[in-house]
Symmetry: C2
Subunit: 218 residues, 2 copies
Amino acid sequence: MKAVIIISGGMDSTAALYKACRDYDAVEAISFDYGSKHNHKEIPFAKYHCDKLGIKHQVVNLEFMNKLFKSDLLKSGGNIPEGHYEQEKMKSTVVPFRNGIMLAIACGYAESIDADKVIIGSHVGDHAIYPDCRTEFNKAINEAMKLGTYKNVQLEAPFEKLRKEDIAKMGNELGIDFSQTWSCYKGGELHCGKCGTCVERKEAFKLAGLEDKTQYEN
Amino acid sequence: MKAVIIISGGMDSTAALYKACRDYDAVEAISFDYGSKHNHKEIPFAKYHCDKLGIKHQVVNLEFMNKLFKSDLLKSGGNIPEGHYEQEKMKSTVVPFRNGIMLAIACGYAESIDADKVIIGSHVGDHAIYPDCRTEFNKAINEAMKLGTYKNVQLEAPFEKLRKEDIAKMGNELGIDFSQTWSCYKGGELHCGKCGTCVERKEAFKLAGLEDKTQYEN
């Protein structure tokens, strides 16, 4: 079985990559530069892990999203809010239908290279504010992908029912050096430690009982 | 109600544009340059009609599809086959999951500008070889769009059950000058008259009992 995996360079998709390399005969990876404040920090980590695993890695430019779409995660948007990842105010960082777009492109690429599956690393913690990370969305887009391709490409969301701390544990068992991943939405020199995804990252290591080797600003 | 319409510059999406301008309070249009042999011929016609109707028109660059995807419709692909649009050999011109990708991007844009619907002009004639034009695909992607957005963006495919000649008739009644649209997949100076989409175009005008003002090569 051959799979295309969507990889951001964050903890979840990196863990999904290592898991896919263990479970599939062939894997290709795809990253998206959609003009977020942190794409330039995370994509090099995606490349680092793909290179390490000998996986072919494509970076697709979706810069138009920065121009046309409304989100504080984008360079064109406002400041990144600070607080817990699942809080209501974090909604300003949602990039409209971003997972839908990434999955659709990965699906077309999968059909082009005769792959059976598209893998995405979204997890339970994403469900609160990201509508296109939820199980019912995954089910519907999987149906669209199957029906819309000759290969009947299918979605695999292996972490759909896991929490981030479970992913951290699994990744640790798979030998991943998580210091070589990026979460911070602000995209500064170091992880800020205060934005939603930094708070979630810290919490995941703590709950998993793992050392957090991330260098935070404070 | 506000809608985002996907417009290629061909007959069907142009007719859908004029219909949408009649039926909706507000309409914005979006075209995609995905590196096909005929994008440079059709997109200016999309722009022409949007300008004429006073509709905001965006062109989204998806040039990566030409590089990564496999299809004879793309500049990177082989020659365009000649014959009837619904023939088996036309499958080489299918761009994997193209409608899925265009709909996903239009959906994200719709959510960004607070639009309720995304309109696409696919019709019965597309069903034979394009899996992502069929009713069951439309139903699944509509579900994914609704579930994946806060606005519950919905798909409208007004020509889903119409044949191209019905669209030609309707467009004629809406006052469309179809000589200002482009179909030919080869993207040459004039319509070739022999490729699948030229054959389908000729047939549509004939069956609709309308004069075909297209200049064909032969």
